[in-house]
């Protein structure tokens, strides 16, 4: 017993001795009239996941480097933690707090009521209050353009879609793809398959092979990490396909014609800039081609193999979408 107490004492002493003097709190900046923007972020998972959460963290970093904001982040697993995080940001006078997922809506509304001076933004969702808004990405505007490419280039007149979980946002991108394709060829056939998750690459590969066997000669995926399986199958069978969410052109450079790219960090930066400039309006924040959050990025290696006029046609329709003369169906 005595030995344990001594050991414990030593541990504590060591803990205190380790405190480096350099970490003393720095005095506040000498220009008090320009308070730095304070921005918090709650993610539903680890920011080292190389996916959904990592991209939000990247967005927060961009807010810090480009706006000089003071940033804070918490990984939150339960609604109790969502509320704790949001309330804590509100109580400490943060200007803006992001919740990275639709599941943060309830917590945002509750904290928004208690802390009217903080703006709460959820990534996707439909809850709006005076200081609460969701940002909704319009990836479907890019997949509409991919549909045009598929319909112009396909020999079989069929394309396949591989989805992870059947979420409205994913169905929306498929609806738009189909609409884009049928704007070129009204008889174009589009078949969608859902694997039920976002990480089983083997299931995505099998789903892709079955679509190819059924005659599809263009594949679009919305399966996040499982998308690797789609590219494997397309490379094996030399069937052309599209990347999605990120610029995936380099993952399978022989078969990916273009990627529908969603620049999430830019969306975070845009919202933070609006809040800083007091331009924020409570509404569903649609972020798409006009806001330069969504775009189609060509694979330069395959651009030359396309039929003449395809690239020009896509660029023309993109301009029409931008001007509002072509309406892309949202599907939800």
């Amino acid at each position: 017993m005595k030995r344990t107490v001594i050991l414990l004492g030593l541990l504590l002493a060591a803990a205190l001795a380790c405190s480096p003097a350099a970490e003393q709190p720095q005095p506040a900046q000498t220009t008090p009239e320009k308070k730095p923007l304070k921005v918090g972020l709650l993610t539903p998972g680890s920011i080292n996941d190389d996916g959904w959460n990592a991209i939000a963290w990247e967005g927060l970093q961009r807010v810090k480097s480009e706006l000089g904001a003071e940033i804070s982040h918490q990984e939150t697993k339960t609604p109790a933690e969502f509320q704790e995080g949001f309330r804590s940001y509100g109580a400490r006078g943060f200007d803006l707090a992001f919740g990275h997922g639709f599941e943060f809506q309830d917590a945002a509304l509750a904290a928004g009521k208690e802390h009217p001076n903080t703006i709460f933004i959820t990534t996707s969702g439909n809850s709006v209050a005076a200081n609460v808004s969701p940002m909704v990405f319009e990836l479907e505007k890019a997949t509409y353009l991919l549909g045009i490419i598929a319909a112009r280039e396909s020999k079989t007149g069929k394309a396949g879609l591989v989805g992870g979980i059947k979420l409205p946002s994913i169905e929306g991108t498929f609806t738009a793809f189909k609409a884009g394709a049928q704007s070129v060829n009204p008889n174009f056939v589009v078949t969608a398959v859902y694997t039920g998750n976002f990480d089983d690459a083997a299931a995505a590969r099998l789903a892709t092979l079955s679509l190819i066997n059924a005659g599809a000669d263009f594949i679009l995926h919305q399966a996040n990490e499982a998308g690797r399986g789609v590219f494997q199958a397309c490379t094996e069978r030399k069937v052309r396909c599209f990347g999605s969410n990120k610029n995936q052109n380099d993952l399978a450079p022989d078969v990916i014609v273009a990627s529908a790219v969603l620049d999430v960090p830019a969306a975070f930066l845009r919202m933070a800039t609006l809040v800083r400039d007091k331009q924020f309006k409570p509404q569903i924040q649609y972020l798409g081609i006009n806001e330069k959050i969504v775009s189609v990025i060509w694979n330069d290696r395959l651009k030359g193999t396309l039929k003449p006029g395809t690239v020009a046609e896509v660029e023309k329709v993109e301009k029409q979408i931008r001007e509002g003369t072509v309406k892309v169906p949202r599907g939800f």
């Binding site: 344990t4 414990l8 541990l11 504590l12 060591a14 803990a15 205190l16 380790c18 405190s19 480096p20 970490e23 918090g40 539903p44 680890s46 804070s72 982040h73 918490q74 990984e75 939150t76 697993k77 339960t78 609604p79 109790a80 933690e81 509320q83 704790e84 995080g85 309330r87 804590s88 940001y89 109580a91 639709f102 599941e103 309830d106 969702g125 439909n126 979980i165 059947k166 979420l167 409205p168 939800f332």
Partner: protein
Amino acid sequence: MKQIALAALAAFIAIALLALAAGAFGHSPSAVLAILFEGSVGSSFAVRETIIKSIPLLLTGLCVVIAFRAGVWNIGAEGQFIVGGLAAMLAARYGVAASFLAAAIAGALWASIASLMRLWRGAPEVLTTILLNFIAIHLLGWCVNGPLREASGRYPQTDLAMATLPRLGGVHFGSVLALIAAIVSWWMLYRTTEGLRLRATGFNPAAAKFAGINVAAQIVRAMAYSGALAGLAGGIELLGVTHRLFERFASGYGYAGIAVALLAQLHPIAAIAAALFFGALSSGAGELQRSANISATIATFGQAVVLLAVVAFTSRWRKRDA
């Protein structure tokens, strides 16, 4: 008395090691300790968050205490928590009381699947309860994507539950219920013949059988009590905090209950302190992330250290007592 000292020591060591670990990653240990304190009990806001997090921990902790006391390794609190939440959701239209009753019954029935498999084929609960967890997780996933999906059909979550727990000073009423559950569990274990039989079964099933206890039936009942507590935890979490179901509804409360029970040395009253400790650790870890950008894994690390210290000390003391 010795046991309390031991648990406190384990908790103390864990915090010291946490501070040291943070030191190894370039943060000042004293600053880390200050933030941990500030974020867990340093303000009325922090205390509230700590209590809210401790409520499900206490109930799942009690669930594990009761089962372990009867010698049954129920590590299925996670699954029982989920079916409790599901049942409470379905019964919410009939009010809070009906919800909680449904949650407790659902948890008890879910746990009973494991005890029935033990009776029928001698399947060990360690396996069956953990497998039942996965079944419950997928059952919930199917429900929120299918029959219970919100009316607008937009996201894989249910609509808001039709009942809500009243609040007491910023903390929902579940805090009182959890405390009552701890006291009732203690009373049942130490002041009733049922509790005596239950503990005897756990202590030495052969001797208990010799003394005329129906060991099989006793285990079935213990599992049902245990499951009912975890189910109730799910119901309280639903009506007090989340107000709706979604796929990650349980998010580890069931497994954390094992840590609570072990730190409490399987004592229902000590479980109150253990749950508050882990609740505080988790709130403090949140604050560490927000104000010092120290990873959330630090709380998990702290939990692991506490458990290792408790296990190491108990075996050491047992050896000395023998």
